[in-house]
Each structure stands twice: as C-alpha cells, then as structure tokens.
Symmetry: C2
Subunit: 156 residues, 2 copies
Amino acid sequence: MSDATLHFEDFVPERQFPLGPKIVSAKEIIEFAAEFDPQPMHLSEAAGKASILGGLAASGWHTCAMMMRMIVDSFIGRSTCQGAPGVEQMDWKKPVLAGDTLKGFGVVLEARPLKSRPGIGIVRMRTELRNQRAETVCIAEQSIMFRMRESGENRA
Amino acid sequence: MSDATLHFEDFVPERQFPLGPKIVSAKEIIEFAAEFDPQPMHLSEAAGKASILGGLAASGWHTCAMMMRMIVDSFIGRSTCQGAPGVEQMDWKKPVLAGDTLKGFGVVLEARPLKSRPGIGIVRMRTELRNQRAETVCIAEQSIMFRMRESGENRA
C-alpha cells in the first residue's frame, strides 16, 4: 500500500469527499428495475408520470447502487476498505428521474478503532446526493471499515 | 384493481410474506460489482478469500437489490405500492457468498394512514434473509406506501 492509499487514519471527522457527477439515463433506470425492482413507475415513462413520482423514476435501490459507485470512484477505490456492516439510515427525499444529473459529497461523522478486529477501524459517514435543480434526492448514513496504517509505514 | 390486489388495509401488523429462495451466482455478483461496487472482494474469488469476507462476496447493495426483487415477487408486485421514502436500517450480518441460497420473510411492524396524502397509508416492515446454513445475512427495516381501497370496492 502506498502512502497515497487512504487508511483509517485519513478519515478524520468533517473531512469531505466529492461524489459524482453522474447522469442517470432512462435505459439504466429500466435495466436495473427489470432485474431488481420491476414496478411500473420504474419501467415506463407513462407509468412513472401516472404515479406520485411524476416521471420515469429510478428504484431507490438503484439510487443507492449509483451512490455506491460514486463513493468507490471518489475514495473507496483508493483506500484500505474492508467492507461495511450495514446502513444506519437511507432517506429517498425526491424521485431520481430519467435525465437527472446527480452529485454530492460524503463527510466523515465519526471514526473509531474496532475492538473486535485489531488493525481495523470503523468510519461513520453521511453521504448526500443532489440533482441539477439543487434538490437533495438522498441522504445516507453508513459505517465503513478501513485497515489502519502499519507501524512500518509512514503517515501521509 | 381486483380484490386480490393487496391494498394498505391488507398489511396488518404481524402479517408475514415469504421471500425467495434465490440462488446467488458468482456471475451475478461480479456483474453487479463491476457496475456499482468495483472492490476486489466483490470481483474475484481470490480477492474475496484474502479479505475478511472469506470468499467472493456480493456487494451489500447487491444483497439489497436481490432482497427488493424477492419483495416485489412476494407481495409488492400484486399490491398498490406507491414507492418508499427510505430505509430505516439495513444490517449486513454475514457475507453473501457465491453459491449461497437466500430466503426469508417480510413482516408488518406497523401501518398508519398518511396525513399528507389522503388515500395512501404507510407500512413499516422488517425483512430478513438467511442463507442455506440458516445464518441471517441481512435484516432491513423499511417503510412502504400503499393506496387504500376505494369506498366503491369490496374489502378482501
């Protein structure tokens, strides 16, 4: 692991990481929904318009998956990430509609060593995504595990 | 909507719905991860074995998406579902590994009419999935909106 790799110690409270941008296409919305969430408002513009979502709308789980990809591209992909025990909260505040552009940020809320796994720490983060109308579309709080720097390595 | 369609009123506390079974293939794990969560332990058996997950493991978000599909197949697909405002809790208790068979249940915790949207109610549910070793792999709590029966319709 190079010094540039993000370790547990690099996730200090209030540190922010940018997420996105990601343009959400109708094709992607329909493909995800056909496999994982085949409800009418996620499969056709007409059914989406007739629903309270107001248009062809991504499954909430698709929004989660797209957020994860933005997180990997922003910081997890260059980190010592060891997985995650779950998600504390996920609010889908507004529908994500075909053609929307999503971007946002992740911010470190809290970081502590894991007693049960020496050399690993857990980082609680809040992640938020907004659309091109500056509306917040989702807010998540989740905890992610990272390996610590080994004693032989220099700190970044 | 036929009488057989599940409406808000059908989601009474303690009612259970079966989920699955669903066999999770290595191919599906890798395809989902390549698009949404390209971390080594979700992309190759060797990297998974070297990680604390112990084998090629599904992204937690993939597990969520598979759970959603089981929920649609079990009850949402024959309901007046109007979407969901989010997820209150999602615990990934054990890794979901290639070859695992997942099944479980959803249970209604609470149901109440939405003041802000006449004719729609919100149902809080817990959903759980177990693997073929009877280990619980994930537990979620989420709220889902359903349309109520209209006065002109008969109750089931």
